[in-house]
Symmetry: C2
Protein backbone atom coordinates (compact mmCIF):
# COMPACT_ATOMS: atom_id res chain seq x y z
CA UNK A 1 0.00 0.00 0.00
CA UNK A 2 2.84 2.40 0.78
CA UNK A 3 4.07 1.76 -2.77
CA UNK A 4 0.86 3.31 -4.10
CA UNK A 5 1.41 6.36 -1.89
CA UNK A 6 4.98 6.73 -3.14
CA UNK A 7 3.96 6.28 -6.78
CA UNK A 8 1.22 8.87 -6.32
CA UNK A 9 3.64 11.30 -4.69
CA UNK A 10 6.35 10.91 -7.34
CA UNK A 11 3.86 11.22 -10.23
CA UNK A 12 2.06 14.34 -8.99
CA UNK A 13 5.34 16.02 -7.96
CA UNK A 14 7.32 15.35 -11.13
CA UNK A 15 4.35 15.99 -13.46
CA UNK A 16 5.21 19.69 -13.08
CA UNK A 17 8.69 19.16 -14.60
CA UNK A 18 7.50 18.95 -18.27
CA UNK A 19 5.23 21.99 -17.72
CA UNK A 20 8.12 24.00 -16.24
CA UNK A 21 10.43 22.98 -19.13
CA UNK A 22 7.72 23.90 -21.65
CA UNK A 23 7.18 27.43 -20.29
CA UNK A 24 10.94 28.05 -20.02
CA UNK A 25 11.56 26.86 -23.59
CA UNK A 26 8.59 28.47 -25.33
CA UNK A 27 8.01 31.48 -23.02
CA UNK A 28 4.34 30.86 -23.93
CA UNK A 29 2.02 30.90 -20.93
CA UNK A 30 -1.12 32.29 -22.58
CA UNK A 31 -3.37 29.31 -21.80
CA UNK A 32 -2.01 28.83 -18.29
CA UNK A 33 -4.25 30.17 -15.52
CA UNK A 34 -2.67 32.79 -13.25
CA UNK A 35 -5.33 32.03 -10.65
CA UNK A 36 -4.53 28.34 -10.72
CA UNK A 37 -0.81 28.82 -10.07
CA UNK A 38 -1.41 31.54 -7.47
CA UNK A 39 -3.78 29.34 -5.44
CA UNK A 40 -1.71 26.21 -6.08
CA UNK A 41 1.57 27.83 -4.93
CA UNK A 42 0.00 29.05 -1.68
CA UNK A 43 -1.59 25.59 -1.22
CA UNK A 44 1.75 23.82 -1.67
CA UNK A 45 3.31 26.26 0.81
CA UNK A 46 0.70 25.13 3.35
CA UNK A 47 1.40 21.45 2.49
CA UNK A 48 5.09 22.13 3.08
CA UNK A 49 4.44 23.74 6.48
CA UNK A 50 2.18 20.79 7.33
CA UNK A 51 4.88 18.26 6.33
CA UNK A 52 7.54 20.08 8.36
CA UNK A 53 5.24 20.28 11.41
CA UNK A 54 4.53 16.55 11.14
CA UNK A 55 8.29 15.96 10.70
CA UNK A 56 7.41 13.93 7.61
CA UNK A 57 10.54 13.74 5.44
CA UNK A 58 9.08 12.41 2.17
CA UNK A 59 6.14 14.87 2.35
CA UNK A 60 8.53 17.77 2.97
CA UNK A 61 10.80 16.71 0.10
CA UNK A 62 7.88 16.27 -2.34
CA UNK A 63 6.44 19.67 -1.46
CA UNK A 64 9.75 21.54 -1.67
CA UNK A 65 10.20 20.09 -5.18
CA UNK A 66 6.62 20.93 -6.23
CA UNK A 67 6.96 24.43 -4.75
CA UNK A 68 10.10 25.18 -6.80
CA UNK A 69 8.39 23.96 -10.00
CA UNK A 70 5.15 25.85 -9.27
CA UNK A 71 7.08 29.08 -8.60
CA UNK A 72 8.99 28.69 -11.91
CA UNK A 73 5.67 28.37 -13.80
CA UNK A 74 4.01 31.20 -11.81
CA UNK A 75 6.98 33.56 -12.42
CA UNK A 76 6.90 32.78 -16.15
CA UNK A 77 3.14 33.47 -16.23
CA UNK A 78 3.57 36.82 -14.43
CA UNK A 79 6.46 37.77 -16.72
CA UNK A 80 5.04 36.59 -20.06
CA UNK A 81 1.29 36.96 -19.41
Amino acid sequence: METIGWLASVLTTFSFVPQAIKVIRTKDTASISLWMYSLFTVGILFWLVYGVMMRNGPMTFANVTTLVLAVIILRAKIKNG
Copy 2:
Protein backbone atom coordinates in the same frame (compact mmCIF):
# COMPACT_ATOMS: atom_id res chain seq x y z
CA MET B 1 -2.38 22.10 12.79
CA GLU B 2 -5.22 20.22 11.09
CA THR B 3 -6.44 23.62 9.89
CA ILE B 4 -3.22 23.99 7.87
CA GLY B 5 -3.79 20.55 6.31
CA TRP B 6 -7.35 21.45 5.40
CA LEU B 7 -6.34 24.83 3.96
CA ALA B 8 -3.61 23.12 1.93
CA SER B 9 -6.04 20.50 0.64
CA VAL B 10 -8.75 23.00 -0.33
CA LEU B 11 -6.26 25.35 -2.06
CA THR B 12 -4.46 22.72 -4.14
CA THR B 13 -7.74 20.97 -5.08
CA PHE B 14 -9.71 24.05 -6.08
CA SER B 15 -6.75 25.77 -7.79
CA PHE B 16 -7.62 23.58 -10.82
CA VAL B 17 -11.09 25.18 -11.10
CA PRO B 18 -9.91 28.44 -12.76
CA GLN B 19 -7.65 26.45 -15.12
CA ALA B 20 -10.55 24.15 -16.12
CA ILE B 21 -12.85 27.17 -16.66
CA LYS B 22 -10.16 28.89 -18.73
CA VAL B 23 -9.63 25.95 -21.11
CA ILE B 24 -13.39 25.41 -21.51
CA ARG B 25 -14.01 29.10 -22.25
CA THR B 26 -11.05 29.80 -24.51
CA LYS B 27 -10.47 26.30 -25.97
CA ASP B 28 -6.81 27.40 -25.89
CA THR B 29 -4.48 24.78 -24.46
CA ALA B 30 -1.34 25.53 -26.50
CA SER B 31 0.91 26.35 -23.54
CA ILE B 32 -0.42 23.54 -21.35
CA SER B 33 1.82 20.48 -21.13
CA LEU B 34 0.23 17.20 -22.27
CA TRP B 35 2.92 15.33 -20.31
CA MET B 36 2.10 17.23 -17.15
CA TYR B 37 -1.61 16.42 -17.23
CA SER B 38 -1.01 12.81 -18.29
CA LEU B 39 1.37 12.14 -15.38
CA PHE B 40 -0.69 14.26 -12.98
CA THR B 41 -3.98 12.47 -13.80
CA VAL B 42 -2.40 9.03 -13.24
CA GLY B 43 -0.80 10.36 -10.03
CA ILE B 44 -4.14 11.64 -8.71
CA LEU B 45 -5.72 8.27 -9.58
CA PHE B 46 -3.11 6.65 -7.32
CA TRP B 47 -3.80 9.22 -4.58
CA LEU B 48 -7.49 8.37 -4.87
CA VAL B 49 -6.84 4.61 -4.55
CA TYR B 50 -4.55 5.35 -1.58
CA GLY B 51 -7.25 7.49 0.10
CA VAL B 52 -9.92 4.82 -0.46
CA MET B 53 -7.63 2.08 0.91
CA MET B 54 -6.91 4.19 4.00
CA ARG B 55 -10.66 4.85 4.31
CA ASN B 56 -9.77 8.53 4.50
CA GLY B 57 -12.90 10.52 3.59
CA PRO B 58 -11.44 14.00 3.13
CA MET B 59 -8.52 12.63 1.08
CA THR B 60 -10.91 10.64 -1.13
CA PHE B 61 -13.17 13.65 -1.63
CA ALA B 62 -10.26 15.98 -2.48
CA ASN B 63 -8.82 13.52 -4.99
CA VAL B 64 -12.15 12.77 -6.71
CA THR B 65 -12.58 16.53 -7.19
CA THR B 66 -9.03 17.02 -8.46
CA LEU B 67 -9.36 13.99 -10.77
CA VAL B 68 -12.50 15.39 -12.42
CA LEU B 69 -10.81 18.77 -12.96
CA ALA B 70 -7.56 17.21 -14.25
CA VAL B 71 -9.50 15.01 -16.70
CA ILE B 72 -11.41 18.08 -18.01
CA ILE B 73 -8.09 19.87 -18.68
CA LEU B 74 -6.44 16.74 -20.15
CA ARG B 75 -9.40 16.07 -22.49
CA ALA B 76 -9.34 19.69 -23.68
CA LYS B 77 -5.58 19.42 -24.32
CA ILE B 78 -6.00 16.20 -26.33
CA LYS B 79 -8.91 17.71 -28.28
CA ASN B 80 -7.50 21.18 -28.93
CA GLY B 81 -3.74 20.42 -28.91
